[in-house]
């Protein structure tokens, strides 16, 4: 009896596997483009066997790195996959440091970075890495929207808050402890923030670490006493970006140079890009891709050329 229950369970497992495969196939098939793709790939296989290989793109790309660049690439990837049904692209975060080290080691196809390879933070950069600038971005200081007592900070005040000299909102006429949030050490946003604001000192060790722009925004949006810094592409009504020396961090102000903080965003490949990598980078640099850059709240390249 007990043996037969074992058999039954195995049977059930096999059934489950068949079911899963069935659903998988139906789902894939129900997608018209996918059906076309299946047919197309059959034709391609035939073609390639006949030595008459067509130019259709096929394969997969893994892209990882800066969460600042992530929204642009995620959107581009979705459109790119629609246009090229033979390609799947997996986009994940991890931070600029991860993007650079992973692409340098060959674990991913394209690294996203919001820091330049030539900065001194990256010791011994891989000479094979080829960065391509795709857009510009800026970093804003953000607080909770209900934080009414601070709207405008000087560079020095920002530094004093983040290095732990000013620890209480009473300094600005509010009340309560200031909750300082920072980013992980590999972050390009952190690097940019430190370059412009933390000229003489380090960020306080008491600051809580967040590992992505998304997490930073979600945290500040839920902590009324919090202060942090964020890529301007992420700013929305859930957080309040502060003026620095009286200048608001808007796209217009960054474009004119009134808001001085500005940095380039990169896609990095190891060695010359392969055909499929090149096609994707070209897509991001095309007018369609640059439109996405602007839609997502970043600054397209052409404004600065």
């Amino acid at each position: 009896m007990s043996w037969s229950s074992l058999q039954k369970t195995f049977f059930a497992l096999i059934l489950l596997a068949i079911l899963v495969l069935g659903v998988h196939n139906t789902w894939t098939m129900s997608n018209l483009t996918s059906t076309v793709y299946t047919m197309q790939s059959t034709i391609d296989n035939l073609n390639s066997m006949l030595g008459n290989y067509t130019q259709r793109l096929e394969g997969y790309l893994t892209i990882a790195g800066s969460t600042t660049v992530l929204p642009i690439i995620q959107t581009c990837a979705n459109l790119f996959m629609q246009e090229n049904p033979g390609v799947v692209i997996s986009v994940s975060g991890g931070g600029s440091g991860h993007g650079i080290s992973a692409v340098s080691a060959g674990y991913i196809n394209i690294g996203m970075s919001s820091k330049n390879l030539t900065t001194e933070q990256i010791t011994d950069p891989d000479p094979d890495l080829q960065p391509v600038a795709i857009a510009l971005d800026s970093v804003a200081i953000i607080v909770h929207p209900t934080n009414g007592f601070v709207d405008d900070l000087t560079l020095e005040e920002v530094e004093m808050i983040f290095n732990g000299t000013i620890t209480d909102w009473s300094h600005f006429g509010g009340s309560g402890e200031i909750h300082v949030y920072t980013r992980e050490a590999g972050s390009g946003t952190l690097e940019c923030f430190e370059k412009f604001f933390m000229k003489h000192s380090d960020i306080t060790g008491a600051a809580s670490e967040k590992t992505s722009n998304g997490e930073m925004k979600a945290t500040i949006a839920s902590d009324p006493a919090g202060i942090g810094f964020l890529s301007v592409g992420y700013i929305d009504e859930t957080v309040n970006p502060l003026k620095i020396d009286g200048v608001e961090p808007t796209v217009a102000n960054i474009k004119t140079g009134a808001y001085k903080i500005k940095r380039w965003l990169f896609l990095i490949t190891k060695g010359p890009p392969t055909k499929i990598e090149q096609a994707f980078i070209d897509f991001v640099l095309s007018s369609q891709g640059q439109e996405i850059v602007e839609q997502q709240g970043y600054l397209p390249l052409e404004w600065f050329q």
């Binding site: 007990s2 074992l6 789902w27 997969y60 979705n78 997996s90 674990y107």
Partner: protein, 283 residues
């Protein structure tokens, strides 16, 4: 005696209250997830791909991805685990080497998942160049469940009374016949329960798929073992911590609820198998 009666009453009240607290804490969490999650779950949510740009869409690739991961993990862990358990309990001589092996296996059954995740990432994905993929994550998950499967299966086989084996051997059965017909047959439901619990463990595991499996937001089902795979726990983690719009939280609730339901389905079936077996043993 009156003192004792009074003490009894006080203790009883305290126990009632404490038990109420502990049982209600689960109840509250489950209810919270259920109320918030059930608003989100619809056929569309279950059958479409996520849209990570606007934090909308469904979880279909994640559900399938999770099932793929668990299936791959079980395909590796169950046979290896059972073979090892058979060898250790029925064949191996009790010497220093098997003792050390057993010691390591028991120790690894409690290994923190972050350690396996780190190993999977550094060794499987990077060193062996398997990439951030379904395969890396599935194999790493199986490392989580192999020690577990061995321990449970070996315990189950050792619980089979010695007399059963001796009777079979006395009747002229070979060692393998005894193992296959007597020991495995008797221990099968326990092994099954153990495997199912291992599946539950692998299903709810977040760290390993996060580190070696993929971003969790994949909009596609992997076409091969070496493509990245999205999984439900990672999806829930990303939506819960990174998208601070209400649609993202809603989806995180939906993902949590689906995950809880899948997990409960597995543990309920393992309990049913075990209880049926226990009843049979008693009668």
């Amino acid at each position: 005696m009156i003192g004792a009666q009074k003490e009894e009453l006080i203790i009883k009240i305290i126990l009632w209250i404490v038990s109420l607290i502990s049982v209600s804490s689960f109840f509250v969490i489950f209810l919270y997830m259920f109320i918030n999650g059930s608003r989100v779950i619809s056929l569309e949510f279950l059958t479409t791909a996520p849209n990570p740009i606007f934090w909308t869409g469904g979880i279909f690739p994640q559900i399938i991805g999770s099932l793929y991961l668990v299936a791959l993990c079980t395909v590796i862990a169950a046979p290896l685990g059972i073979l090892t358990a058979i060898y250790l309990s029925e064949y191996a001589v009790d010497n220093l080497i098997t003792k050390i092996a057993r010691f390591f296996i028991v120790t690894l059954a409690g290994i923190p998942t972050i350690v396996i995740g780190l190993f999977g990432l550094a060794f499987l994905a990077y060193r062996l160049n398997l990439g951030i993929s379904l395969f890396s994550a599935g194999v790493a998950l199986s490392f989580l469940t192999i020690p577990w499967t061995i321990t449970v299966s070996e315990e189950a086989m050792r619980a089979v009374p010695k007399e059963y084996r001796e009777a079979a051997l006395a009747l002229g059965a070979t060692r393998w016949q005894t193992t296959w017909h007597i020991v495995l047959k008797t221990a099968a439901p326990w092994i099954m329960t153990g495997i199912l619990l291992g599946i539950g463990k692998a299903l709810g595991e977040t760290t390993i798929p996060l580190m070696c499996g993929g971003s969790g937001l994949e909009t596609f089902i992997p076409r091969s073992l070496f493509e990245p795979v999205g999984s439900l726990p990672v999806y829930t983690f990303i939506f819960a911590t990174q998208g601070n719009v209400s649609s993202a939280y809603d989806r995180a609730f939906g993902g949590s609820l689906v995950l809880i339901l899948m997990f409960l389905l597995i543990s309920v079936s393992s309990l049913i198998i075990r209880n049926r077996y226990q009843k049979k043993m008693r009668t």
